[in-house]
Amino acid sequence: MSHTLLTRDQIAERAAQDIPDGAYVNLGIGLPTKIAKYLPADKDVFLHSENGLLAFGPPPARGEEDPELINAGKEYVTMLDGGSFFHHGDSFAMMRGGHIDICVLGAFQVAANGDLANWSTGAPDAIPAVGGAMDLAVGAKKVFVMTNHTTKTGEPKIVSELTYPVTGKHCVDRIFTDLCVIDVTMKGLVVTEIVDGMSFTELQAVTGATLIDATQA
């Protein structure tokens, strides 16, 4: 069979479908921020940013940028009516205290037990930097991961055990890749959707951990 990889926008669009009306959501820097534009207008989804914003909106019109109104990715944003500002303490209380419903993160690797690696490749001379990655990984009620299924060189990113330094243990609930959707469960990695034209066997072949097929369920 032959299949087509989902584009980054298509992964974002797919992930957006799993965000319910009324959800408080933190979209990690990078790929996950793309989800914002696929949230349907008839839903109230509340976007949280670590630097003290709740219910922020799309980027401002050109010339309307305010250097004091940025998100955690240091991009200019706007505020929706009903949005609010607060300090870093309250902002991470929202996260650590389990008040955020869904956090969507990028990943270097996800392990079969839900361990996430996304903050360090462990390269010996790299300058370490963690930001809010570890807080986001353990704090939200549900953690979604958005990632390509394999690295640029074809190595699996979904693995039986992490080889990169862990960001959070047992934290990932669902994985959206350019090939499939996977639920991380007590039984293992359960594949619920695969791109058209790809078989479960083919998917398993490019994955570094044992998958469970639930696409017929």
Binding site: D44, A55, G82, D90, A93, M94, G97
Partner: protein, 230 residues
């Protein structure tokens, strides 16, 4: 479209069941959600654990709730007052359990729950009867007691204004425990004097962001002219 202000008081409270742990805001009567407490009494549920700074005054509000026998245990800092006869009688009759917590530790343990902390070392209470049997630690020249978070199934609080996303602002010293209880309960129900349109509350002035509030119920202000609304 999310509207946290679309249910009436009775509907909202009906989700509270026997055995619930409930935080109730207020310091004295300031910030006490009187109408929510009255509706809670009407529910007729029992076996409740209540968290409040006090244990009721006179025969109204929290005292009235206690009087119905609905409360199994109260966690508070100052139960004994000149007009706390309802609690006094229950306590002396062995009909209510009391967990006495210094006021600042009460606040801090509620905050710890809202912040998702596992426990905190606090200096308050070290060496006293209220820290007996508790783990202690000497840190950087000072003695601390290990205290655990106080969480709740519900928080019933009073704010001045709220919008349909649950954003709240308070009024003067009625703010007291409201903002921190809202963060520490699974479901926070706020009674407000005014429901305002989205965007009417300045994002700089919102004290409790809507993420901490599940329901907003508008009630007739207690200090309004009763004759006028009768």
């Amino acid at each position: 479209m999310i509207n946290k202000a679309d249910k009436d008081l009775k509907d909202v409270l009906s989700q509270i069941k026997d055995g619930a742990t409930i935080m109730i805001g207020g310091f004295g009567t300031a910030g006490q959600p009187a109408e929510l407490i009255d509706a809670l009494i009407d529910l007729g549920i029992k076996d409740l654990v209540i968290i409040n700074n006090n244990a009721g005054n006179g025969d109204h509000g929290l005292a009235k709730l206690l009087k119905t026998g609905a409360v199994r245990k109260i966690i508070c800092s100052f139960p004994r007052q000149s007009d706390s006869w309802v609690f006094d009688e229950l306590y002396h009759a062995g009909k209510i359990e009391l967990e006495l917590v210094p006021q600042g530790n009460l606040a801090c343990r509620i905050q710890a729950a809202g912040m998702g902390l596992g426990a905190v070392y606090t200096s308050t209470g070290f060496g006293t009867l209220l820290a007996e049997g508790k783990e202690t630690r000497h840190i950087d020249g000072k003695d601390y007691v290990l205290e655990y978070p106080i969480k709740a199934d519900f928080a019933l609080i009073k704010a001045d204004s709220g919008d349909r996303w649950g954003n709240l602002v308070y009024r003067k010293s009625a703010r007291n425990f409201g903002p921190i209880m809202a963060m520490a309960a699974d479901v926070t129900i706020a009674q407000v004097s005014k429901t305002v349109a989205l965007g009417e509350l300045d994002p700089e002035h919102i004290i409790t962001p809507g993420i901490f509030v599940q329901h907003v119920v508008q009630v007739q202000p207690a200090h309004s002219n009763v004759a006028a609304i009768a």
